[in-house]
């Protein structure tokens, strides 16, 4: 809304300047051609008025009808009609003036006047069109800039975030323990951890991944946690394979799962049942993650930051504000995430 307002006032200002400019130029031309003082001044003023009124008309028309291209039949027709109307009215008014006033205004031939006016309106149209698209581009550019900066920062933090050091070193400690008690299990866990790390590193270079890739990575993550907390952790995932190719942004879903683990597993002492439902509803993929939460001990301040940075990222990517929702219900923390489906990757 703001942006339309900005372009509107900018538009008006440019039109006034252009109208006065053309009017002045016209006056100057008449002056050079030896016209009298009154003649060229009035003529210039009338032309400026004419151009200004035409410009306003045009802006009004294009507010309701927004052409995608500058040169196509429809905008050209509109400009042509407009020129005809404005020129006709102008001539009609000048002709209707009292005889005494007529010599003050120099009237070129109707067609010359119309051609000049048509040209002027076209300039207007271009100017309007550029401002409009400029504002839109600017927003996209700003959003992209923010996103790039964010990604750059995230890239540095990514390894830390994606592979939380706490998670990494505890996993290594579990492996160390398993080498004594169950060497084969230890070997399995080393492989699992390596796979997880490998994918984390690769993922850092991308902005979007397929849902399948993301879910596989979450599986690896949870499998490792399962070894560390076999007696307490259980995970249930409902998901339709048909959605596998859908692309979702990196580092959105996994932090939410890590959050669920942080509060559902690290944060309380009972059984940690973590659930995730993932389904497609029209143009969105919906995720519903829930984990037990210790209401009396959880202070949500800590989570606030993580969730906010995800919200920010979602906004930067999709320019939508309501994609992430969290609430506590029946001693469980619920996270609802919607991802707009952009394009589905062709390869599976």
């Amino acid at each position: 809304m703001d942006q339309i307002g900005v372009s509107e006032s900018k538009n008006l200002r440019t039109q006034v300047i252009l109208a006065l400019g053309f009017g002045g130029l016209y006056s100057f031309a008449l002056f050079c051609s030896g016209f009298t003082y009154q003649n060229f001044l009035y003529s210039g003023f009338v032309l400026a008025l004419e151009i200004f009124i035409g410009g306003r008309m045009m802006t009004t028309v294009f507010r309701y009808f927004q052409p995608k291209k500058t040169i196509s039949l429809v905008p050209l027709t509109i400009l042509f009609l407009q020129t005809a109307i404005v020129t006709s009215i102008f001539y009609w008014i000048v002709n209707a003036l009292p005889e005494a006033w007529k010599p003050m205004i120099f009237l070129p031939h109707f067609s010359t006047h119309a051609v000049v006016l048509f040209f002027v309106f076209w300039v207007f149209f271009y100017e309007w069109w550029f401002i409009k698209n400029d504002v839109r581009n600017l927003n996209d550019t700003q959003r992209l800039l923010h996103l790039q900066e964010d990604l750059k920062n995230a890239e540095i933090k990514n390894i830390q975030q994606n592979i939380q050091p706490h998670f990494l070193f505890n996993s290594l400690n579990s492996i160390s323990s398993l080498t004594i008690s169950a060497p084969e299990e230890a070997q399995k866990m080393v492989v699992m951890l390596s796979e997880f790390l490998r994918h984390s590193v690769v993922k850092n270079q991308k902005m979007f991944v397929s849902l399948k890739e993301e879910l596989d990575q979450i599986d690896r993550y949870l499998a490792i946690e399962q070894i560390r907390f076999s007696h307490r952790l259980s995970f249930e995932m409902i998901h339709d394979d048909a959605n596998d190719p859908v692309e979702i942004p990196c580092m959105i879903l996994q932090p939410l799962i890590e959050n669920a683990i942080k509060f559902g597993l690290y944060g309380q002492t009972g059984k940690a049942e973590i659930k995730m439902v993932c389904e497609r509803k029209r143009d969105y993929i919906h995720f519903h993650i829930s984990n037990p939460v210790d209401e009396s001990y959880t202070i949500n301040k800590g989570t606030g930051f993580g969730l906010n940075s995800i919200r920010k990222k979602l906004y930067l990517l999709f320019a939508e504000n309501n994609l992430l929702k969290t609430y506590i219900e029946n001693q469980r923390f619920h996270t609802e995430l919607k991802i707009p489906i952009q394009n589905e990757s062709n390869s599976n």
């Binding site: 505890n170 290594l172 070894i227 560390r228 907390f229 944060g267 202070i299």
Partner: protein, 241 residues
């Protein structure tokens, strides 16, 4: 030496147990997987030494120690907690970074055995300034452990060797010093207004003038507390006057 192993991961306790079994003079008398269990078990079994993980559900390692009247010797273990490590280093305390080898374990154990006087654990707790943690205060009343979220705290009052902590519904007593809270409570939300009181800034309802240019504060729970002359400028500044 009687030891208790405290860690929320079974595998982490397993390796500690294994290492302990390699040394002849250690007897593992108990294991626990969260802070609540730990406090209870330590008081019951009175071990000489505990291996204490820093990150645990419900109560972290430092909070466990805070609740013990006579804490035993401690060897801290942590996977990754830069804040804890900083606190240990600052107080020249030994700690084990997971994963660790038998040699390192034995070394820490030998060191702990030699320690005679009680370790300076008070200071470790003070210097543990984890941005995510310490947003709450733990209180132990007999068997019951209560966790007060920081935002529920209205004010703290000195009470001999103890402090009284007030929330809108309860009053708690805890053995602690005012200067400890002055140092550890987030400075952005608490201010000391008197030798004997610290208040939450956003719980101030108004400031009232009393005689001789002295002031008192009225808190949202309708309690009035005097403001000392020396603390008044600080309070004014914090309120943005």
């Amino acid at each position: 030496m009687k030891v208790i192993l405290i860690d929320d991961e079974p595998l982490a306790r397993n390796i500690l147990k294994k290492y302990c079994s390699n040394l002849s003079d250690i007897e593992v008398i108990g294991e626990c997987e969260n802070g609540f269990e730990a406090v209870k078990m330590i008081e019951e079994l009175q071990p000489d030494l505990i291996f204490l993980d820093v990150q645990m559900p419900k109560l972290n390692g430092f909070e466990v120690l805070e609740l013990l009247a006579n804490p035993p010797k401690v060897i801290f273990t942590t996977a990754f907690d830069e804040y804890a490590v900083k606190a240990f280093d600052a107080n020249a305390l030994d700690y084990l970074l997971k994963p660790f080898l038998m040699e390192r374990f034995a070394q820490a154990y030998e060191k702990a055995k030699k320690v005679q006087e009680p370790q300076q654990l008070e200071n470790v707790r003070e210097s543990y300034a984890h941005p995510d943690e310490k947003q709450r205060i733990v209180i132990k009343d007999g068997e019951k452990i209560t966790i007060i979220p920081m935002e529920d705290l209205i004010y703290i009052e000195a009470y001999d060797d103890y402090v009284k902590l007030y929330t809108s519904s309860e009053r708690y007593v805890k053995k602690q010093t005012m200067s400890y809270y002055e140092k550890t409570l987030p400075a952005s939300s608490f201010v000391r207004i008197h030798r004997s009181s610290i208040i939450a800034i956003d719980r101030i309802q108004r400031i009232e003038a009393i005689e001789n240019g002295r002031y008192q504060v009225l808190l949202t729970n309708q309690v009035r507390l005097p403001i000392s002359r020396s603390a008044f400028p600080e309070l004014k500044q914090r309120l943005g006057w």
